[in-house]
Amino acid sequence: MEQATTIPLRARVNRAAYFLRLPRVSLGLALLVLLLFLVTLPCLLLLAATLTWDVGDIRLSPAARPGAFTLFHWWRVFASDLGEAIFYRPLVRSLATSVSVGLLAVGLGAGLAWMTTRTDLPGRRLVAAMATVPYILPSYTFALAWLTLFRTERLGGGAGLLRYVTGLDPPEWLAYGFVPIVATLTLHYAPFTYLLVSGALASVDAQLEEAGEVLGASRRTILRRITFPLVLPALLSGFILTFSRAVGTFGTPYFLGAPVRYFTLSTTIYSSMVTRTFATGYILAVVLIAASALVIYANQQLIGSRRSFVTIGGKGFRSARMRLGRWRAPAALVSWALVLMAAVAPLLLLAWQTLMRYPDDYSLGNLTLHYWIGGSDPRLAEGEMGILRNDAILGGAWNSLRLSVVVAAIGGILGILVGYAVVAGRRGWLARLLEQQAFLPYLIPSIAFGALYLSIFSKSLGPLPALYGTFLILVLACVAKNLPFSARAGISAMLQVGGELEEAATVAGASWLRRFGRIVLPLSLRGSLAGFLLIFVTTMRELSLIILLITPETRTLTTMTFRYMEQGYAQFADAIILLIVAMVLAGDLLARRLGRLELGT
């Protein structure tokens, strides 16, 4: 009897030990623990909070006993009279806008990516350089630009440009609500897909397409049967990232939706946080998590097991460009118009705005450099100095830079590791769990994520001291919140690195660390560079996530812009935005240069 149980047990122990010695498994487990701590713990706390009376809930119900269990918040959101106003209507609108933005942005981003990497589009280098600019701008910049063009009497504040020129008010559907929200967010988020798809296309060997050509396939067939399937994982990643980002964004739907009472889940969550009905905000966040979990599931069904293709192999590599022929001129026109609209126009508008003594007065006599280099003038902006002479702003710039670089480095490497563990163990539960975990932070609205981190890390947690007020808590929050980016980029990059190279190294006796450091990491770096860049940019513009976590020593540029904006000093706010853009562009250039050196091309 005893023997009968010990033998299988030992066998099982041996099997487990062997299993654990596999690098993908031990690495996967280590990552899982890390993600549980950074991601799942906040989610569980969030869930617990939806089931607990909070101190402020005495305002909602006389039955509230702070700290005790309750289902009240769930009832309030789903079944009370308020349900339609705070849940059902916003949900429908959120889904409608985000799905539209997802589809349009993927189409736009992928189209531009294909034209700049695979065709002889005139001026493609410049188009490529500009295509990422929209993402650098805070998303509400587009909303504000849209309002400048289409503002109607409802908002007042002087005529919009359209009314100024034509004397007619634009129709309300064009000025506010669904159409402008979708249009501005599409321009803003198309770079996601652009970066992912151009990364994927850049590593597609042209020989694959030429093989099709040799076999007599038409250009369209090659696109449809070869190129498209190769970039499909990147397209789907692009859709998911865009969808979840659009669903969670606050500024644009608020600026463009609120005047006509077009409220979405994100604006409702934001106002729940501001009015301190946290549980309501958290429940809406849980709904977002559930909706997006469905999207991930669908994605896994699509690319999980079959639909991925190894394009970086051990053989030679060549890329060639397709001739656009008679489509060259129209394609150029459209690309240039898009890029001008999305990148140049908003920047020019911003720059112009920083030079205006009084906002909204476009005459030449109104120009000044005061907001850049001026001294203290009590008649303007409460006597604050121009941003280039303002120590607080320069200190903020240093903090922003430090934070973005550190977060991009840590996040990017973490992403590659997650990508490796997920791709290497694609069919296992560990891989699936990791992938799901890594995606979770995206669904928690930034402001809620910040509030959760504040509550978790403001007291000591096991061996960890209280992190409130440290730089580390900002890094942790940003790394965790950006995991979906970095993990997607890591997975996409890893999917393209063939196993044959690593297998060869294994046969030759290389240790895992050596294989990873010498083969896997360098090969996936090109694809992951996009991921690093996205994190760098996102962190640079991060506001709602960190606003609750910063202290005077750790405050960043963005936390200063929103204040200035609120107080009506658009000049300062825009000048700081331009400063951020300049820093991001510098980072972008540097990253590209480094990437090129790394690859030796």
């Binding site: 908002l155 409220f263 509030a451 509550s455 007291k459 609750l548 009506g568």
Partner: protein, 390 residues
């Protein structure tokens, strides 16, 4: 798979324990010792002695203030000049963010803030002061100069007025004379109201109007010559007014600044009217094209006032410097350097010896938002607003 589930459960339990621990950390045995040592509450020195405080504050070296207003930066400058050796760390946050941060610091026992300077006295009182996270401080020399409601439960720094404004480019006179005029068809889609979900002071405005339902009922009869019929399910006259302005397509603005611009920069003949902070009047100096004025003769009330408060979080690490800074912010009989940034059109000082800022017309017909009433009813009023915001 089972391992993962077990792991998740364990982590979940750990998380819930942590949560529960946080909830229980509220009572602090050392509070009285801190009050005694720092000189607050029953232990506060009777006489305000700036020199003695300065000596102590210099030893503390700095003071951290969470402020709802960016103007604190100027106060910090003048304070540092007047009291060399004390560094001010001014932190510009929304009132709701201040509450969140103070609560987090209190539960973490990681005390950073020395002074909070914020709106929303209802939340400050019930979420912070009553549970013992915030103590009031009124400098001894100011007591005779402040009415009781500006000393209790907090020191009120100044009053902020929320008013109805109209375009003054054509007619100088306001086009409406009653709050009920806003429910008439000619103002459909032409009334601006700042989003009460984002700006808590406008929840105070709505709630205060509800509190004064009897006056609103009388005013309705004066305007329409017949008693008001409440809509189905509407419990009081104040809410009926809210329901009707929403049904009249009021525009929800994102800030007081936007209302001022929408009203002040529109063509006079077609300009909307809107509620905003009276202190927006000072924008007219910055932007000559803004043309708007307050509807001073509005019935039954021309303004709702709310207090901006100053207080000290429990266990503040630099109590002497906190006291000095609070006193500096309160200024002197002529305004004073510390008060100067707030000595502007639309903000009324609470010190009885200070005049109104030049050019500011006194509004006698005003309702003061009552923190206890707002706390008890504000959320329900906001929910009513939401439910009718179609």
């Amino acid at each position: 798979m089972r391992n993962a589930i077990v792991l998740r459960l364990v982590m979940g339990m750990v998380a819930l324990l942590g949560w529960a621990g946080a909830a229980r950390a509220a009572t602090a045995p050392g509070l009285d010792a801190w009050l005694r040592q720092a000189g607050f509450g029953p232990h506060q020195e009777a006489r305000f002695d700036p020199e003695a405080l300065y000596q102590k504050a210099k030893a503390e070296g700095r003071v951290t203030v969470y402020s709802y207003s960016s103007r604190i930066v100027e106060v910090a400058k003048t304070f540092e000049q007047r009291y060399p050796g004390i560094k001010v760390q001014a932190f510009d946050l929304d009132s709701a963010e201040i509450v969140t941060k103070v609560l987090a610091e209190q539960s973490a026992k990681n005390y950073a803030a020395d002074v909070v300077y914020m709106k929303d006295p209802a939340t400050a009182l019930h979420a912070l002061k009553n549970p013992g996270h915030l103590v009031a401080y009124v400098p001894g020399d100011l007591v005779p100069l402040l009415r009781p409601e500006y000393r209790e439960p907090f020191l009120i720094h100044h009053l902020s007025f929320d008013v109805l404004v109209h375009n003054s480019g054509g007619e100088a006179k306001a086009p409406v004379s009653s709050l009920w005029d806003l429910t008439k068809p000619e103002w459909q889609g032409r009334v601006q109201f700042p989003d009460p979900q984002v700006l808590p002071e406008f929840t105070e405005v709505l709630t205060t109007i509800v509190q004064h339902s009897p006056e609103m009922a009388k005013e309705y009869e004066r305007v329409f010559g017949k008693p008001l019929q409440l809509g189905p399910g509407v419990p009081d006259v104040g809410r009926e007014w809210i329901r009707r302005i929403l049904a009249n397509k009021v525009t929800v603005a994102k800030s007081t600044n936007d209302v001022a611009k929408a009203v002040g920069r529109a063509e006079p003949a077609r300009a909307p009217i809107g509620f905003t902070a009276m202190s927006r009047l000072r924008d007219k100096e910055k932007d000559p094209k803004l043309q708007f004025d307050v509807a001073y003769d509005l019935q039954p009330v021309a303004a709702v006032t709310t207090g901006v408060l100053l207080a000290v979080p429990a266990y503040a690490p630099h109590p002497a410097a906190a006291k000095l800074l609070i006193r500096w912010l309160m200024g002197d009989a002529k305004g004073g350097e510390g008060y100067k940034p707030y000595f502007v059109l639309g903000d009324a000082p609470t010190r009885s010896d200070q005049p109104l800022p030049s050019g500011m017309r006194a509004i006698e017909r005003r309702w003061h938002a009552d923190p206890s009433y707002v706390w008890a009813n504000g959320r329900a009023v906001l929910d009513f607003w939401l439910a009718n915001l179609k």
